[in-house]
Symmetry: D2
Subunit: 341 residues, 4 copies
C-alpha cells in the first residue's frame, strides 16, 4: 500500500503516517519526490485498510497495491479448480454447455427444454423456480413446485440441476433439491445470502452484478469461499452501460481477467446479457473463442408463450445448431467439449 | 403500449399481434406509416407486458408508454405523502436534516455524534448497526449491541432512530428497536427484504441502487408499497459512472424526477455519494437548492479513527456550520427548516 | 413517430399536435388508451423531428420509431458493401487482418512491423503519422515524414496503407499518400472532418466513439455517405464503462448490431479497446467467432521501447501465432481468410 | 510515480526498472513488501510516462502519483484567474449568468433572447452560429450570417458575445466577431481546434466532453494554455450515464473538483445537461449553491418553434424569474451577482 502525501505536507504529517502504520504492526518507507512524498507500507494490508489514513493531515490519497481477495485468488492458490456438479464438471480443461428454461413454468415446458438441452450437448440443466423480477406485478416463479419439476427433469435426462436461490431463508430447501445453487446478478452483494450458500457445501454459480467491478465480483466470491466452499463457478452476464440498443454489454475481457485473477472456472451467460435471440449465438461463439469455460443459455419450445424473457430464449432446433457449432469450435481451439468426454 | 412492426411485416404478422392483444382482453389500433406499421394497444398494460410480443414474427420492438409503478405514482395518488418518523416528519413542505454516525462503533462515539446532530438541527438520528461491506475482512457492524446503543442515544436526545437492515431474518428484531428502517443501495433489488420491511408498517428509507434507473428505484418502492406501507422516503445517493475521481456521481436531477413521478418525499445522501468530506457540504447545499426534501450526512468526532468511511464523515463543528448554512438557505428559498417548526 | 400525451391532456392539446403535424405535411392517428392518449404520425419523420412537439402543452414525450440513418441503412440498401482498399477488400464474405505499428516512429520500426504483418496474413497495413493524444506533452506523430515511411513500407510489402487523419486541413495531403483514411474515436463526431474525408472518395475507416451509441456511430457514417462516399468500414474499438481494470469494454454485440443495421463491413480493434497485450489475442478470436469482418491489431518489434501504447502491441512472433489462429478459426466457421484468397 | 512489480518478479526485473529510470535521468527507491515489491520513482514524471515500463518483464502496473496538467493546475498557479469577456468578467469572486439562444435563427428571435437575457441579469450573451448536430439532416446553423446577428444584439444590449467554433478553419473569422469562443462537448478532444483557439488570444469556454473524465477535461484545457492563453472558462454540462430519463447526468461534484484542481473559473450549463425545461431551474440553483462561478442557460421566446433544442429553452418570463432567484440565492451565500457590480 502506498500513501501519497499532499504537495505541501510537512515532516510532521509524514511522521504521523509512519507512526500509525508502526502502531498497526507494519513498516513504512519514505520516498521523497520532486513535488510529492510517498510512503510505501510493508505488512498486513488488511490492517492498513482499516486505518483511516486519508483523514490524517497532509494525506492526499491511499493507493492499494495488493489485491483484497485471498481464497479465490490465483496467486495464493495456483492450482485451477474443477467444480463438480453431480456427474458433470466445469473446468478450464473443457468447455461446458449449460442450458435449460429461464423460468420453470410447467412440467411439459421444462421437460421439453431439458430434453433439447441434453440433445444439444448440455451437461447441466439450468432452470429458475424463484425469479427476482423488477416489477412486483410479474410472474415470480413456481417455488417448490418448480424444484419438483426440475427433479423430474433430472430423473428423465440424468442432467444435474442448477437453480437460483434469492432468499437466505430458502437456501436449505433449495439445496435439498438442487445439485448447484445460482446467485443472480441482483444478489451478488447480498452478503448474508452468499454466506448461507457457502455453508451448504453445494457448488455455487455466482453471477457478476450488472454494475459490479471485477474486483467486487471476486470479493463476493470471497464471501462464499470464507465459509469453506471453493466450489464456485463465476458467470459473466453483461454489465450496464450507456448503450440503449442491447440490454447489457457482455464483458468478455472481464471474463478473461477473472480467469487470470482467480483459480475458479468462469462461464458466460449470453442470453441474459443481451436479451435478444439473434445475439445469443454470436456471443456464445465469441465466449468460447475468448477462452470461457462454458456458456449458459435459455431454451424454450414456444418462446412466444414464455412467461419470462421469451425474447432471448432459443428454440430447441436453434439450441441443437448452437451445440453443434460450439462442439466444432471447441475442437478447432483444441479444447474438449464437456459432453463428449 | 405500442408495438412497432418490422419494415417488411405482412398483414398476417399485424393480425397476429392484434389477435394476441384481443385474447388478453385489450384493443388494438393499427397505424400504417410510410415505412413501418405500428399497433397502439389499449387496455391493461401489465397484461400486455406478460405477452411475449417481441417473439412474434414481424415484430421489431415494443415500446411501453405508461409507467409500470402504480401505488407510488403521483398521477395515481396526487396528494404528497408526509412520512412520520417518531416525532419527526419528512415531507415536501419542509427541509429535514438527518445525521449521525455511519456505523455505530461504541456508546461514546455514537452519543457524541447524536448530540452533535441534535445541536446542528437534525430531527432524525441515523446510524448503522448492520453494515454491508464489499470485503468480508472488514468491520460488519455491532448488530444488536449497536441497536441498544442507538436506543440510548434516542433516550438522551429525543431523536428518532433510522437504521439499516440487511437480512430479511433480522427485520423483526430491528423493527422492534428502530423508528424507521433503511434499505441500502446494494439491497434495493433484494425483493424479499423489501417485502419484509413493507410488512412491519414502520417507515422505510429506500436508497437508490448505485446502478439503478429511476424507474427501477420506483419499482423497488412499489414492492414495499404493495405490502400496504406507503411511508417510504426515497434517498438519492449517487450513481456509478466512468468518472474515477469521485466515488459516485450524485444525480440531483434524478432526485427532482423522482419527486415529480411519485408522491413520496425524496432526500439526498451526499456523504456516501461522494466519499470525500470536502464535497459533502457543497453537495448538501446543492441538494437543498435543487428542492430535495432533506439531506442525510455522516458525523464522527474522530474521523481519523472511524472504523467505516471516516474519509467522508463531518466533524461535529463542520456539522454545526453545515446545519446553520442549510437553515439559512432554507429560509432563502422559502422553505421551513424542519427542526425549527 | 409517436407522440405520447400527458395523463391530463385535453382534446385541445391533442388537436394542437395533429394540426402541427398536418402543417408539416403529415398525417396523425389518435389512439385513446385507458390512461394516456398517443398520436401516431405518418409522413416524413425528419420533418417531424424538426417540430418542437415536446414543447407543446400536454405533450409528455415523443418516441421515434424509424431509424434516422438512410444511406448507410441496410433496409434502404440491402446489398452488402465490399470496401476495396488498394488491392485488398474488406467485406462480409471474408475475414481480414489489418496490422501495423500504432504510431510510425522510424523507417526501421515501421518496416519491421510491416514485414511481420504481411507474414502473419495481413492484407492492409495500418500506421499512425498523426496521433491524437490526451496530453500535449506526449509524442504527437511524425506527420508527413510518417506518411513517407508508410509509402516505403507499401512499396516493399505491397500492402495498402490505412492511416489516421485528425484535421480537416490535412485531409488533402494525407489522401495523396494513403489508400484509406481512418477517423479515430475522438473525432467520430467531428462533423467537418467527416465531410472532408467523405469528399476525397478514398475508403474511410470510422472508429466508434468511446462513448457513442450505435445510432450515433451510424449517423456519423451518414455524414461521410452524404458526400457520395459509401466505402466506409466501421470499427468497434470498445466503449467507456465503470470498469477500471480494462481500458474500455469491447462491445462485440454492438458490432453485430451494426452489421445488422447497415450494409457496411464492421471490423474490431482489440488492441486499443483493451490496452493490454494479454487480452488482445482472446478478443481478436472472439471478434472472429462473433462474425466480425476483420480485426485490426498493433505490432511492434520492441514494445518496451514504443513511443505510444507499447503495452498493447504484439511482438512479431505473437502476431504470427495470432494470424495462424485466426486463419484456423476462420476455416472452422467456414469463412475465407482474406490473405488466402 | 510508482512501479508495482508482479508477485514473482526477480531481482533482475527490479534492477531493469531501476536502470531504465536512471537512464531517463531519474532516481528509484525500492520498497520490498510482504507479497510485492514497489519502486518509487523520483524525477521528471513526463519523461517516465514515455518509458514503456509496463512492457518490462515482472512489471504489474504503473501508478501515476502527480497530476499530468501543469499550466491550468492550481498547485502550480495558486492565484485564481478572472476571465474578462468584453466588459464582463467570470471569476470565483462573483456569480455570472450567461444566457441567450441555443442557435441563432433570425435577428428577431436572437434580439428577443438578448433583451430577455440582459433584463434577467445576464452579463454575457451566448448564441450558436455553427451547430454540431448528430444528424446531417438537421439545421446546422446560419454561419457568418449568425455572427452578424449576434453583433447586432451586442450593439443593442451592450452584452459581449460567446459563440461556438467547430472547425479550425473558421477560428479566424469567428474570433473577429466574437468576444469569447466556445468549444463544445464533442470537440473537447479536437486537439487541433484547441490549439487554434488558444492562439487567438480570445477567452475560451471549454465544455467538458460528455464522456470525459475531469483529468481529460483539464488536459484539454492544457492544450489551450500551451498556446499562451490562460483565459479559459471551464463548463460542466453533464456526463453520459446509464440513466435514460435525463439526457445527461450533471456532475456538480466534478465542477467542485475542477475548481479545486485548477485556477480557472468553472460554470455550469444545466440546459444542455438536462434537455428538459423543468429541470433547468432546479439545476441552475443547485449549481450556484454548490459554488459554481456561473451558469449558462438557453432562452427562446417561442420554444415550440425553436429549430434546435426547444425542449430545454426557457421562455423570457421563466428567465426573468430564474435571474431573480439566482440573485437572491447569490446574496444568501454571500457572493456578488455579477450584473449587480
Amino acid at each position: 500500500m502506498v500513501v501519497v502525501m499532499k504537495a505541501g505536507a510537512t515532516k510532521e504529517d509524514v511522521d504521523r503516517v509512519v507512526q500509525k502504520v508502526k502502531e498497526a504492526g507494519g513498516d513504512a518507507h519514505i520516498v521523497v519526490g520532486e513535488f510529492k512524498t510517498i510512503v510505501g507500507l510493508v505488512g498486513d494490508t488488511e490492517r492498513f485498510m482499516e486505518l483511516p489514513l486519508t483523514s490524517l493531515p497532509g494525506v492526499e490519497s491511499v493507493v492499494r497495491i495488493g489485491k483484497p481477495y485471498k481464497l479465490v485468488s490465483r496467486s495464493a492458490h495456483p492450482t485451477l479448480t474443477d467444480v463438480k456438479v453431480g456427474p458433470a464438471s466445469v473446468s478450464r480443461r473443457t468447455f461446458s454447455l449449460i442450458a435449460g428454461p429461464c423460468a420453470v413454468e410447467s412440467l411439459e415446458q421444462s421437460m421439453a427444454a431439458a430434453m433439447a438441452s441434453k440433445a444439444a450437448g448440455a451437461t447441466i440443466l439450468r432452470g429458475g423456480a424463484y425469479k427476482p423480477r423488477t416489477s412486483p406485478y410479474t410472474f415470480q416463479g413456481l417455488g417448490i413446485e418448480g424444484l419438483e419439476i426440475l427433479a423430474e427433469c433430472r430423473k428423465e435426462t440424468g442432467l444435474p440441476i442448477l437453480t437460483e436461490v434469492v432468499d437466505a431463508r430458502d437456501v436449505e430447501i433449495v439445496a435439498q433439491w438442487a445439485d448447484a445453487l445460482q446467485i443472480g446478478t441482483r444478489n451478488m452483494q447480498n452478503f448474508q445470502l452468499l454466506a448461507e450458500v457457502g455453508k451448504t457445501g453445494k457448488p455455487v454459480m455466482l453471477k457478476r452484478g450488472f454494475a459490479a467491478t471485477i474486483e467486487e465480483w471476486l470479493m463476493a466470491a470471497e464471501y462464499i469461499a470464507r465459509e469453506g466452499n471453493l466450489d464456485i463457478i463465476l458467470c459473466e452476464r453483461g454489465i450496464r452501460t450507456f448503450e440503449p440498443w442491447t440490454r447489457n454489454t457482455l464483458d468478455l475481457a472481464g471474463m478473461v481477467v477473472a480467469q487470470n485473477e482467480s483459480h475458479l472456472p468462469v462461464v458466460v451467460d449470453p442470453s441474459h446479457a443481451k436479451g435478444k435471440r439473434s445475439l445469443v449465438e454470436p456471443m456464445a461463439r465469441a465466449a468460447l473463442a475468448a477462452g470461457a469455460d462454458g456458456v449458459m443459455v435459455d431454451v424454450h419450445h414456444h418462446p412466444d408463450e414464455a412467461l419470462v424473457d421469451g425474447a432471448q430464449a432459443l428454440e430447441p432446433n436453434d439450441l441443437t445448431r448452437l451445440g453443434a457449432e460450439l462442439a466444432a469450435l471447441s475442437h478447432a481451439v483444441g479444447r474438449p467439449f464437456a459432453s463428449e468426454i
